[in-house]
């Protein structure tokens, strides 16, 4: 539904005086997880994002790994929430039908320094009680025969894996919407102002909203939001990570997530499968002063070099896409999940760098505890913990596909030839909540354009579907909202 106050789901036109109990700024994985959990309670909850779809920033451009929990320093919030996150993802991925695979991970050691490092990680793991094993060279090569034979030892963490981060955000937001929460997209928060009556005024590019509590889950922008509330002890800078995605034909190169022993700069380049069966290599770790989501020739070369060291393979021959994401590196070396020091009613979830995806459910629970300090929470009796995506045909047996096609023939019409996505599936994600409205949001929900031809075949066809189903002129159809138009319209318009 389009309104003057941005695009909203699950609600009618937004009145400028709308009042909420909790407004969450940022529909990344952290905001989405908090949204889903808050919608268990009898509260008026609104989730805001400046982008045209949920999960449009760091939560869509990361390594998609559920980390084992041995890496963060024991005793930190990051360590606690990582462990809690893994446990909750077990449950949530089932309730919300999110793709996950517990592949296990291997941290490889090639020299004495590496061995010292994985030994430290081993002891970390033991201290925080997550399963870890020390493997010798032979056992490492037995588990993963393709790794660089110079490997000397590895750390094996069985309870770690890979997740579909796009699906995760969509499912969490969908679950919240289903349980009464509201969502506004294309809505950028510009200021937070404490009002005399105790409410916080949330000023946006689409007017002002009032709420008792604000959860700041604005990712890279979280420190900026804090500053608009007068809180300036914390700052964030971006650390870029670049990646290659490779063809599904080589997705089975490795069975586990393969890391190099970490250095002070981070976990280094990894080699992993994605839940969709592609191969993923990356990331770099480049500290930037300004947000810059571009890939660079140097960065991509570094990824190839790093990956080839771990697992020698001609990756570039199978490349289908590259991307970059920005980690939000805070001025404190831990997650900041706490009440604002200056504005009552503001709760910050800031500096959520890696393993933020893994920790998100834990962060959400911590946020609920903090909300309890401010509001009385009453559980809804009719909360429905389950969420289901519209059917994905390629995952169904042929008899079930046949049944769907009989109901709606467009389920038999292939639009994306690489990922085998049908017109019916695309139409269904335009109707689901949160709805897809553009090319990239369709991609994140059903993978059309995500295959080896990268939309060469289906983009033109999806333009037609979007135009027809959403009643848009051709030049209003976008890749990801705003001015990301795919074409300039009809090439014979105005000729007569």
């Amino acid at each position: 539904m389009e309104t003057s106050s941005g695009k909203s789901s699950g609600m009618g036109p937004v009145a400028h005086t709308a009042v909420y109990d909790v407004i969450i700024i940022g529909a990344g994985i952290v905001g989405a997880a908090a949204f889903r959990e808050l919608c268990k309670y009898d509260l008026r909850v609104l989730l805001l994002d400046s982008l045209h779809d949920v999960g449009g920033d760091a939560s869509r451009a990361n390594s998609a790994i559920l980390h084992g929990g041995f890496d963060p320093q024991p005793g930190t919030l990051m360590s606690d929430l990582n462990k809690e996150g893994v446990q909750l993802w077990f449950q949530w991925t089932q309730e919300l039908s999110i793709d996950v695979e517990w592949t296990g991970s291997l941290v490889l050691a090639f020299n004495d320094a590496d061995i010292a490092e994985i030994t430290r990680l081993y002891h970390n793991g033991k201290k925080v009680r997550v399963p870890v094993k020390f493997l010798g060279r032979d056992e490492t090569l037995r588990r993963e025969p393709v790794v660089n034979p110079e490997v000397r030892a590895s750390l094996y963490a069985p309870v770690s894996g890979i997740i579909d981060p796009f699906q995760a955000v969509v499912a969490l937001v969908g679950s919240g919407l289903k349980n009464g929460g509201k969502l506004m997209l294309d809505t950028e928060v510009t200021h937070l102002v404490k009002l005399p009556d105790g409410y916080i005024a949330v000023q946006t590019n689409h007017g002002e909203l009032r709420t008792k509590v604000v959860i700041n889950a604005a990712g890279l922008n979280a420190a900026h939001i804090m500053r608009t509330a007068g809180e300036d002890w914390f700052s964030i800078h971006p650390r870029r990570g670049q990646y290659f995605i490779l063809d599904k034909n080589v997705g089975n190169l490795v069975r586990h997530v393969i890391f190099r022993a970490p250095t002070p700069k981070g976990k280094g380049v990894l080699v992993s499968r994605t839940t969709h069966g592609n191969l993923l290599i990356g990331p770099t770790a480049e500290d930037l002063t300004e947000p810059d989501r571009r890939t660079t020739a140097e960065g991509l070369a570094e990824v190839l070099q790093g990956a080839k060291y771990l697992v020698p393979f001609p990756y570039e021959r199978h490349a289908i896409a590259q991307y970059a994401g920005l980690r939000a590196i805070g001025s404190v070396d831990d997650f900041v999940v706490q009440h604002s020091k200056v504005m009552e009613g503001l709760i910050n979830a800031a500096g959520i760098k890696s393993p933020g995806l893994t920790a998100a459910p834990g962060i959400a629970h911590r946020l609920i505890e903090l909300v309890t300090d401010l509001l009385t929470l009453e559980e809804k009796r009719d909360f429905d913990p389950y969420f289901e995506f519209p059917p994905i045909l390629r995952e169904l047996p042929y008899v079930d596909r046949e049944r769907l096609i009989k109901e709606d023939p467009t389920y038999g019409h292939m639009v994306c030839r690489c990922e085998l996505v049908t017109e019916g599936e695309i139409k269904s994600v335009l109707r689901m909540q949160p709805a897809a409205t553009d090319l990239d949001s369709i991609k994140r929900r059903v993978r059309a354009t995500a295959g080896r031809c990268q939309g060469g075949f289906c983009t033109p066809r999806i333009i037609d579907i979007l135009s027809r189903e959403l009643n848009l002129s051709y030049d209003q159809v976008t890749k990801f909202g705003r001015n990301s138009k795919l074409v300039y319209g009809d090439n014979r318009r105005g000729d007569a």
Binding site: F244, I245, N249, R293, R294, T295, T296, A297, G299, L300, E316, A319, I320, A321, Q322, Y323, Y398, R401, E402, I405, K406, P409, T410, G412, H413, M414, R417, C418, L420, T422, L439, R452, C453, Q454, G455, G456, F457, T459, P460, I463, D464, Y474, T478, K479, F480, R482, N483, S484, K485, L486, V487, Y488, G489, D490, N491, R492
Partner: protein, 410 residues
């Protein structure tokens, strides 16, 4: 005899018609698009059919001729029907708006065409805005859908498809700022450099490539730099303020179904190995047209397909005597890669050189021994050339031979 043809492009139509003419009881073309013709309906320019029909036709006209043959020959045509799985026992599973169909023909001819390499395959760094398209996609949007794709355009890749798309966009009123080519020579035919670029004053930048895409929402510019020995030359970078980047950086056979059948994929063609009848190592399974290797000329595509169509019907268990043909020095692609021996007709062998050879000799060798040689002038990577094998040379090839086709320059 039931022959299923997967794909209704020129290869599929030619194969189906020749299978029917050779006496097949039932021939079905399974085509995922809403129309027959493959890529031809969008190739509205001329330059098709000079060899096959002896006339210079546009793509749609070429397709119309084949379509008329299909109509006249009682070949069944299933449109909006996509083969989504192919099993080694030749079972095909097809998704259509009427449901999922299973067919199990006696012979399968894959005429599935090619797909374009996307931006990600060559890893062009930069931002990821809207407005980066492969040439075939741009062409489909302009000619089939009637979209205005871009106003200010840059093209990477000077193969014929890139050149033709540059001209088409210029004719539609776009400003085409230039065409960059990584190699020191154009990828496409000289005539297309003339009539697509020179005629329209579109600059051709040889030994150049796009080093970065800029733009946060729609493309705002591309950076282009000179390349020497595979590296960009510092200080040669230029910025072109365009809203669209068109990529024409190669085609790859659509080999997924062929792979599913368990056939190994050759790295240099991107598809399965075939013999001179375009039969793969699985009896009764054929791959033709751009699905077996990139031919460039539709005439060759149609020719290859008709050979397969009639052979599929006459086929009675492949002759077990095979020799292998491999690309040697200076040669990038050879088709076919197998020779069935003892056949009545002398096989045609096609090859593509790795770089332009003004004057040279092509040699078919068995170890050190030269089986056949032929002098050539003006060999270009843009064109498939035919190596003429003589009767006595063919007969001299022995089962199990590993032959190499290579080129030498004086």
């Amino acid at each position: 005899m039931f022959v299923a043809v997967v794909g209704g492009g020129p290869a599929g139509m030619a194969a189906a018609v020749s299978a029917k003419r050779a006496g097949a009881d039932r021939v079905v073309i399974i085509e995922r698009a809403e129309r027959l013709g493959g890529v031809l309906p969008q190739c509205i320019h001329s330059g098709f059919g000079v060899n096959y029909y002896g006339e210079d036709l546009t793509g749609p006209e070429f397709a119309e001729r084949l379509r008329a043959d299909v109509k006249a020959s009682s070949v069944e045509v299933w449109l909006n029907a996509m083969v989504i799985e192919a099993r080694p026992d030749k079972t095909l599973i097809i998704s259509t708006p009427h449901g999922i169909s299973f067919v199990k023909p006696d012979a399968v001819i894959f005429a599935v065409g090619a797909r374009e390499r996307p931006r990600g395959a060559i890893a062009i760094p930069g931002a990821r805005p809207a407005g980066v398209y492969t040439a075939g996609t741009a062409q489909y949007m302009i000619n089939i859908q009637g979209f205005e794709v871009g106003k200010e355009v840059f093209v990477l890749g000077s193969g014929d498809i890139g050149l033709i798309t540059a001209r088409r966009m210029a004719l539609e009123g776009a400003k085409v700022h230039g065409v960059a080519e990584l190699m020191p020579f154009p990828g496409g035919l000289a005539r297309n450099v003339q009539q697509c670029l020179k005629d329209f004053n579109i600059p051709l930048l040889l030994s150049h490539t796009v080093t970065e895409v800029l733009g946060s929402e729609r493309v705002e510019a591309v950076k282009v730099a000179q390349v020497e020995n595979g590296k960009t030359v510092p200080g040669t970078e230029k910025v072109f303020p365009v809203d669209t980047l068109v990529l024409s950086v190669g085609l790859l056979p659509e080999a997924e179904l062929i792979r599913q059948m368990g056939l190994p994929i050759l790295p240099y063609t991107g598809s399965a190995a075939v013999d001179q009848f375009f039969q793969t190592d699985l009896p009764g399974v054929y791959v033709v047209g751009n699905g077996v290797g990139i031919w460039d000329l539709v005439d060759n595509v149609a020719m290859s397909a008709s050979v397969a169509g009639s052979h599929a019907v006459k086929y009675e268990g492949r002759s077990s005597d095979l020799a292998e043909v491999l690309p040697g020095v200076g040669v990038r692609v050879v088709i076919p890669q197998r020779l069935s021996l003892g056949e009545s007709d002398v096989p045609r062998i096609w090859f593509r050189v790795a770089c332009p050879i003004p004057v040279g000799v092509a040699l078919l060798t068995r170890g050190e021994e030269v089986i056949a040689r032929k002098g050539f002038a003006g060999l270009k990577p843009a064109e498939m050339a035919e190596f003429p094998l003589k009767e006595e040379q063919y007969r001299a090839i022995r089962p199990g031979d590993k032959l190499h086709l290579r080129v030498q320059q004086p």
